[in-house]
């Protein structure tokens, strides 16, 4: 392991025990993140992407959570730390921006106090210093008239401005790793673009690492160095961003990409949708978890779980599939499908 790895996650599992059984929300996830780089985690609802980021940050409360594996931040093992020990990492080392700014801000606390809270508690600043720093932070995240905004309450701000405030709060203690969990999902598209620009600029200026969690492949495409695609609690494909889009290996990633309506397609272009829905995480399929929905699945896929392997021709590109897109078996499966469709008289 080279020293520029800020975050090293190995075989992280996060299970929840429920009355219906054990939900394997995150089931053996490993990845590394270099200092100053941005990783996108993409997946649909229930893929485990949000649980993964909360699990790394130690934000999952309650005694029905079972975690195992290893999370190393800057060489320090975080697994097994108590909540108060984790607290020393929050703010200064790791911080998070959540989806809905209205619920992550305290509605009865003035903006200035909220942004300054971390500065006072974590960095031990005086009240006066914290207010001055908060004002500068608000200006940094593009809030006009920061001095006036400090004295306002969250409901007096628009959705985009509120999200800027939560970003300012997350950045206040200078974290080396920022989690952004669907930071723009609640926002309009023009405001989303502004917020994504802001996150990218701050990440660059502060040489900070960022984990951007989203359901939207479009959001991560232009703004991350690496992407991990999650399905049913596992990473099914992980690659440098350009390589992932240029050279998709995992049929699930391909299916996800094909089902997105694209502006470059003509109106009424038929979308290539994948049938079915993600599996139950209490008793996931024995083989590949995507096999029941995969158009190219064969018997091996249904019985034997594929490991996450590195592509021979493109190092750094990992995928979890026996017959990746472009392989001989894949091409045969495509031909089989086509002949079946032809035989069906379509």
């Amino acid at each position: 392991m080279s020293t520029d790895h800020l975050l090293v996650v190995e075989d992280l599992k996060t299970h929840f025990s429920t009355t219906a059984g054990v939900v394997r929300a995150v089931d053996g996830v490993s990845f590394t993140l270099e200092r100053g780089k941005a990783l996108g985690i993409v997946g649909e609802s229930g893929s485990g992407k949000s649980v993964l980021s909360r699990s790394i940050m130690g934000l999952l409360p309650g005694n029905n959570v079972m975690r195992s594996g290893s999370v190393k931040l800057d060489g320090h093992e975080l697994m097994g730390l108590s909540r108060s020990e984790m607290r020393s990492y929050w703010g200064q080392t790791m911080a998070m921006v959540f989806q809905d700014p209205m619920t992550s801000l305290n509605p009865v606390m003035k903006i200035g106090k909220q942004v300054g809270e971390g500065l006072r508690r974590t960095l031990g600043m005086s009240k006066q210093d914290s207010i001055e720093t908060a004002e500068r932070l608000l200006a940094d995240v593009g809030i006009p008239e920061p001095a006036r905004r400090l004295k306002e309450y969250p409901h007096q701000l628009s959705g985009g401005m509120r999200q800027r405030v939560t970003i300012a709060t997350a950045l206040s203690c200078g974290p080396s790793l920022l989690f952004a969990d669907e930071p723009t999902t609640a926002l309009d598209v023009t405001v989303q673009a502004q917020i994504l620009d802001l996150l990218a600029a701050q990440q660059h200026d502060r040489n900070m690492s960022m984990i951007l969690v989203t359901h939207d492949l479009g959001v991560v495409a232009g703004r991350t160095d690496e992407i991990a695609v999650m399905y049913a609690g596992q990473i099914v494909e992980r690659a440098p961003t350009a390589s992932l889009f240029a050279n998709m290996k995992m049929p699930y990633t391909e299916a996800l990409m094909k089902s997105i309506p694209k502006l470059t397609d003509k109106a009424h272009t038929r979308l290539d949708s994948v049938g079915g829905r993600p599996p139950n995480l209490i008793s996931p399929p024995a083989g590949c978890r995507f096999a029941p929905r995969c158009p190219y699945a064969s018997e091996r896929c249904l019985s034997e779980q594929p490991p996450l392997v590195e592509a021979v021709e493109t190092p750094g590109h990992y995928f979890r599939c026996w017959y990746p897109v472009g392989s001989q078996e894949y091409i045969q499966a495509v031909r089989r499908r086509e002949s079946l469709a032809a035989a069906g008289g379509i």
């Binding site: 649909e44 609802s45 628009s158 959705g159 985009g160 401005m161 309009d188 598209v189 023009t190 405001v191 989303q192 673009a193 502004q194 994504l196 620009d197 990218a200 359901h215 939207d216 492949l217 479009g218 959001v219 495409a221 232009g222 703004r223 961003t241 350009a242 889009f245 299916a255 996800l256 990409m257 094909k258 089902s259 997105i260 309506p261 694209k262 502006l263 470059t264 397609d265 003509k266 109106a267 009424h268 272009t269 038929r270 979308l271 290539d272 949708s273 994948v274 049938g275 829905r277």
Partner: protein, 340 residues
Amino acid sequence: MAGTGKAHLHNGDDTILRVEDLLVEFKTEEHGKKVHAVTGISFDVLKGETLGLVGESGCGKSTTGRAVMQIPRPTGGSVVFEGRELTALHGEELRKLRTDVQMIFQDPISSLNPRRKVIDIVAEPLHIWGIGTKEERIAKARDTLAAVGIDPDQAGDRRPHQFSGGQCQRICIARALVLDPRLIICDEPVSALDVSVQAQVLNLLEDLKAQFGLTLVFIAHDLAVVKNVSDRVAVMYLGKICEVAPSDDLYREPRHPYTTALLKAIPVPDPTVRPDGAVRLRGEIPSPVAPPSGCRFRTRCPSADAICAEQEPQLIQVGHEHFVACHHPVPISGLADAAQ
């Protein structure tokens, strides 16, 4: 935009819905102030076409859809459906007419009664109107469920919570279809769904439209989704229509600065396309309680000048079926890449 004007309306017999000068205002708690949700918009929908209404939160697109249904009644303007003025209809007449115009909503789970069986939910509209015998109603409901891809044998006796969001949306579509409506207003029908499920529902809507000869008004904030299903698209901003055009033309050659900025703001799932910060719109949509004078988009528009504050632009024709309400429409050249 900000524009008014009716240059884009058609005059033929094939217009199924014609909305003119639609005005919807809501009272605010503060005395004398009003929310100008929709201010004098006009549009029409041709038989068998899908008209997309697209815009960001607060642009009035959902209010427009509801005002067509007369829930609530618009403050002013006219809504003519198949030659009948809806704003003049009352009571039983209006109820009857609503069987021909149905709605599908954004959140499929909250728009289904959780305590009723799926088959009863879908048969309910027939029951309300006393159509057929009980057996005929159940048979029709079963056929409709099958048409939307839900197996009536397996699903009929189950309740909404036993289905996923995508399946619930299919059930909502079946319920809207069971009375054989001629127009369906879809208000953000796929916004709550994951992309893979969204694709299934969009394909289904296209199939049903062909199968049942439907006309759709498709309201959504996602431009790519709207483009995929629509024949024509109207872009809305702060209670006004900025631009109306056939879908392919609108995306290839947007003429309104707002449409251009909106298209550029969409994150493209292609890492070779770098996010273009140069055409970023600054600020956010102004309050509809006190909208800007003249063109409502002028406060965020890169090409706004004095005339934009004084005069409200009218919709003018700039191409085949392509209309824009702007004093300074974006020139065609140099725009071709906006759609990419």
